[in-house]
């Protein structure tokens, strides 16, 4: 596992514990959607992973690096796209690229130019002349061009208009290399649905569900019905009928995963990694 979090305890000063004994691991090359309610600690977890916050106890490893040490070898391999990072407004995009790109040994200027043009932006424009969404696109382009092994995006689609969200998905999917691991924290589930290959749901200080989407679609069936299904693991009212999740039988066709429904099911404690994969684990054992 390229990202490994063990027995993590963390709280802000004079605040109750946010994470208590949090365990999490991410395989190399994954694109993980880190989902959670507002205040669940998604951004805090990303700050901990990037070494901007320190755990009270427990260990965090990204590859061979300990983020807390903030050693250059680690910082050169991680790019954290924060929702509210400062930017030099009087600089043009080109100047920003030259200045900040120099810090990342694997930074690729031609890749940056390409992504920028995919987003329809020009390098000569100053950062303070851009809208919030446009600036987000610049920093996204920059982050992807750093070619860091670890990419942490905090609410990357915040401020993007609808066409840009689609470009965002294409750009991210088209620019990730096999050895790169991307963790996207968001509450806009639909924006990342087609992009991620793994989902982690953070709730009440723990990772309640951490699963590969392919495995999930192997085990679960997502559907709609006019009446409440008897064998449903979770169901919720949807228009005049119900949306539900139930265990998938072997002969049944796989259905697309509804992340929103899955998220609600996990928050309502109807689903967890254990309950979903119980059967499989029993078989393995």
């Amino acid at each position: 596992m390229i990202v490994s979090v063990k027995d993590l305890n963390f709280s802000y000063r004079k605040r109750p514990m946010l994470f208590e004994g949090l365990q999490w691991s991410v395989p190399e090359g994954s694109v993980v959607g880190l989902l959670g309610k507002n205040g669940a600690g998604k951004s805090t977890l990303l700050h901990l992973l990037s070494g901007l916050l320190f755990p009270k106890s427990g260990t965090i490893n990204l590859g061979q690096h300990i983020p807390k040490d903030r050693r250059p070898a680690f910082l050169e391999e991680i790019f954290f796209l924060a929702d509210d990072a400062a930017y030099p407004g009087n600089m043009s995009i080109g100047e920003y690229q030259k200045l900040m790109g120099a810090f990342y040994p694997a930074f690729d200027s031609s890749q940056f130019d390409q992504i920028l043009s995919d987003f329809g932006l020009e390098k000569k424009v100053k950062l303070n002349e851009l809208s919030l969404g446009e600036r987000k696109k610049v920093f996204l382009s920059f982050g992807l061009s750093t070619n860091c092994r670890f990419l942490l995006f905090d609410e990357p689609t915040n401020g993007l208009d609808i066409p840009s969200k689609s470009v965002f998905r294409k750009v991210v999917a088209g620019n990730l290399k096999d050895e790169q691991t991307l963790i996207i924290s968001t509450h806009l589930v639909a924006d990342v649905e087609k992009l991620i290959d793994r989902v982690a749901i953070l709730n009440a200080g723990k990772i309640q569900l951490d699963a590969d989407l392919l495995e999930l679609s192997d085990h679960l069936l997502f559907g709609n019905s006019s009446s409440l299904p008897d064998d449903g693991l979770y169901a919720e009212k949807f228009g005049t009928g119900y949306q539900f999740i139930r265990s998938r039988k072997e002969q049944e066709a796989q259905t697309p995963i509804s992340l929103e429904l899955l998220f609600n099911a996990v928050l309502n404690k109807s689903l967890s990694s254990n309950s979903i994969f119980q059967t499989q684990n029993a078989e393995v054992l």
Binding site: H47, G51, L52, P72, L75, E76, A86, L99, F103
Partner: protein, 282 residues
């Protein structure tokens, strides 16, 4: 190459970052210092135009008074990027050792600023003298009395090491003075990371309190050892003769102790600053 060893490439990048991100601060600071000092000297020369001389001692005195302001608003503006959460996030995420980031701040604030200031000060004096001389013709043309003021040529060495010329004291007295001055600079430097934007106000208060503590020590020690005098007029007069015992030649023990404390504290605050940078969270 070990990526975690100190790297010249990263230090250069950090300098580029510092000068690019805070370009306005440097431009305004350097030009501001030049114009303010030039304007100040032109005003002083005009105000004193009918007196006889403006000498080296006044240049030296003003140099140190203005240098004090530089410590407040130059050295005190260390680690500006750690003042807000948004900028801290960028600064701490930038690939670089805490040592490298510290070095860039130390170099620009503690070493580069005083050198730049000295150059600006010398230039300003030269420009303001020429401006004043040029204006001589204007004043005589309108029929007023001709200007009498003679301005000394600036002796740079005398300005930079005035103690050597004016103050013949023991070596320990110099050590004490430099220790206190150095401590103030290190406090202002560390204040940038401790107090953030309130540094220029709060750290001088801390320093004044520290000096007050030093000044009060003989009095409080007298109260403890001898007792509080009954005569209210003598309550703040030290009852113990602190000029004895003497340590080295002509050095009272107390002066020696304070000197050592000041130098240790100076190093300590530079070290604290480094640790604060290393342990900073956002």
């Amino acid at each position: 190459m070990n990526a975690n060893a100190i790297s010249a490439r990263r230090i250069i990048n950090l300098f580029r970052f510092e000068f690019s991100i805070h370009r306005k601060f440097y431009e305004m600071g350097i030009l501001g210092i030049f114009f303010i000092i030039t304007g100040l000297f032109v005003l002083i020369f005009f105000a004193n135009r009918y007196t006889t001389t403006f000498g080296q001692s006044q240049f030296t005195l003003l140099f140190y008074v203005e240098l004090l302001f530089l410590v407040f608003f130059g050295v005190g503006f260390s680690f500006v990027d750690l003042r807000t959460k948004r900028s801290s996030l960028v600064y701490l995420s930038m690939p670089g050792l805490a040592t490298e980031k510290y070095f860039v701040q130390f170099f620009t604030r503690v070493l580069m600023f005083p050198v730049l200031f000295t150059v600006m000060y010398i230039l300003s004096i030269s420009v303001s003298k020429n401006l004043f001389r040029m204006s001589d013709f204007t004043t005589t043309d309108v029929g007023t009395s001709s200007v009498l003021l003679v301005i000394d040529n600036l002796d740079i060495w005398e300005m930079l090491v005035p103690f050597y010329y004016y103050w013949n004291k023991s070596a320990m007295a110099y050590f004490f003075l430099f220790g206190i001055a150095g401590l103030f600079i290190s406090l202002m430097f560390s204040g940038g990371i401790i107090f953030g934007k309130w540094n220029s106000l709060l750290m001088p208060l801390v320093f004044i309190s520290f000096c007050g503590l030093i000044a009060c020590t003989p009095v409080v020690l007298s109260w403890i050892v001898v007792g509080i005098p009954e005569d209210p007029s003598k309550i703040f007069t030290p009852q113990i003769h602190f000029r004895q015992p003497k340590f080295f030649e002509n050095t009272p023990l107390l002066l020696f102790v304070f000197t050592v404390l000041a130098w240790v504290a100076m190093v300590f605050f530079y070290w604290i600053t480094y640790l604060k940078l290393k342990e900073r969270e956002v």
